[in-house]
């Protein structure tokens, strides 16, 4: 299946705008669940305002949050997809730039040393474009995640050691949630990466934080830890916006990778309540947009 770069560019453009406007159904369900179980009166109000905002964004066709984030694209290329790797990367970048200029979106991306904003949401290494492959022959999937900075600024890595065991992982997650307080715009999705190298561990945490609610870690031990930690962090009372309550997090998500015999790394990356993402599948039948 030949995919033209122009089609990828259009999809990359559309995905950035869609992601900023439409919250995925699993996150909406997450809000309904928290609103139903919350016992604190103020927290109920705060959740109610967040839910009202989702409705207003839809009615006014506006962005959910002013933070257009760091744009991230995750691409899964099927076995029979024919497109050059570098032309794919360039097309995504052009789509991201066009969304920013044409909508127009706030460009939230600057050079890290000069702090110069090119007003394109792009810069050296940004947007990050992650490429993976699948056995589905005629399918190219592009996921777009605008990662807000309030939650991204609360990211941690600890190179724990084997003697500290799983206790070090659990303690670290609890302490990260306490340190974050209201700064991450809770209720959050707490992404936890366990194992790997330092860089892989952080990447796992990001993957966990941006995974759909209601999905489980594919590893059974990881899935068990998710359930334990999800219950535990909501005992802390941080609450929505850090103003107190039961609803500190929608869930804790865990992703794992094997690690070295001497290592026990754990990373935490958080996703704010505006847990935005959008995806598109390009097949011979055309483009199907989803979340």
């Amino acid at each position: 299946m030949r995919v033209e770069p122009a089609a990828v560019e259009e999809v990359a453009r559309e995905l950035y705008i869609r992601a900023l406007k439409m919250l995925p159904p699993d996150v909406k369900e997450g809000f309904a669940r928290l609103a139903g179980t919350e016992t604190d009166a103020r927290a109920k109000q705060v959740l109610g305002t967040m839910i009202a905002n989702i409705r207003v964004a839809e009615e006014t066709e506006n962005l959910l949050c002013q933070d257009t984030g760091i744009p991230i694209y995750n691409v899964v290329i099927g076995r029979g997809v024919d497109i050059g790797g570098t032309e794919l990367q360039r097309a995504i970048r052009r789509g991201c730039e066009r969304a920013t200029r044409e909508y127009p979106l706030r460009s939230s991306v600057v050079h890290p040393i000069t702090r110069k904003n090119e007003q394109t949401s792009c810069g050296p290494g940004v947007p990050p474009i992650h490429i993976d492959f699948s056995d589905e022959a005629e399918k190219l999937v592009i996921e777009m995640v605008p990662k807000g900075s309030g939650s991204e600024n609360n990211s941690w890595l600890k190179m724990a050691i084997p003697a500290e065991g799983v206790d070090a992982i659990k303690t670290f997650v609890v302490d990260c949630v306490l340190d974050a307080g209201g700064k991450t715009c809770p209720p959050t999705i707490v992404g936890v990466g366990i194992g790997g190298t330092s860089d892989l561990c952080v990447a796992l945490a990001k993957r966990a934080a941006t995974r759909a609610l209601g999905t489980d870690c594919p590893d059974p031990e990881g899935a068990r830890l998710e359930r334990e930690l999800s219950e535990a962090v909501n005992m802390l009372g941080v609450g929505p916006q850090g103003l107190g309550g039961d609803s500190t997090s929608f869930a804790v998500h865990v992703e794992i990778a094997a690690t070295h015999i001497t290592m026990n790394p754990v990373a935490v990356n958080m996703q704010c309540h505006s847990a935005r993402r959008a995806s598109a599948a390009i097949t011979p039948a055309g483009v199907a947009y989803g979340y």
């Binding site: 103020r42 002013q66 206790d167 302490d175 535990a232 107190g244």
Partner: protein, 201 residues
Amino acid sequence: MAHHVLRPPITEAQVRALRVNDTVTLEGALYGIRDANLIALFDRGRKTKFDLRGQAAIHTAPNVRKVPSSPQHPTGYAPVCVGTTTSARMERFTRPFLEMGARIIVGKGGLGKGSLDAFGELGGAYLAIIGGTAALETTWIEAIEDVDLDDLNPESIWKFRVRGFGPLLVAMDSHGGSLYDEVQRVSRSRREQTLSRLGVK
């Protein structure tokens, strides 16, 4: 738990009447400040044309659209989506900002002890808005009336005209009250119990 409607300029007496758990609705002028423009003002010696005495400011950088200048859009900017950023990064700028005469900071996630002390000594308050609810917040913005330090766009200093902006929650006041401190005390006191539930030895 009183409700206050404030239209800047706000007096010291008005701001000192605010207590945590009160609510506020703002009317009239609201200035947008954040990282780059505060660094410009307080680390790089740049000046602003705005007289901030008695004013309210929000930690923000909006999405805007360039439009022809008109009475509705005097700066040639129309608001697209205006929301609130995490206040903690602006912690060290609270005191000098209040020293310029500002009275109110609107933000999300709260500020620290240095800011709380400054609110007490200089007469100021922090009003919490619900972060991530920018679509709603944008409906409270009437216009972008003026802009300064626009070379920092989108981190310019914005002057919005707002109508029915709120209700906002008084989360830090000039009497040493901070809802964030209260919640942090509670949540930290639950750490051991939480770890014990997780079987941590």
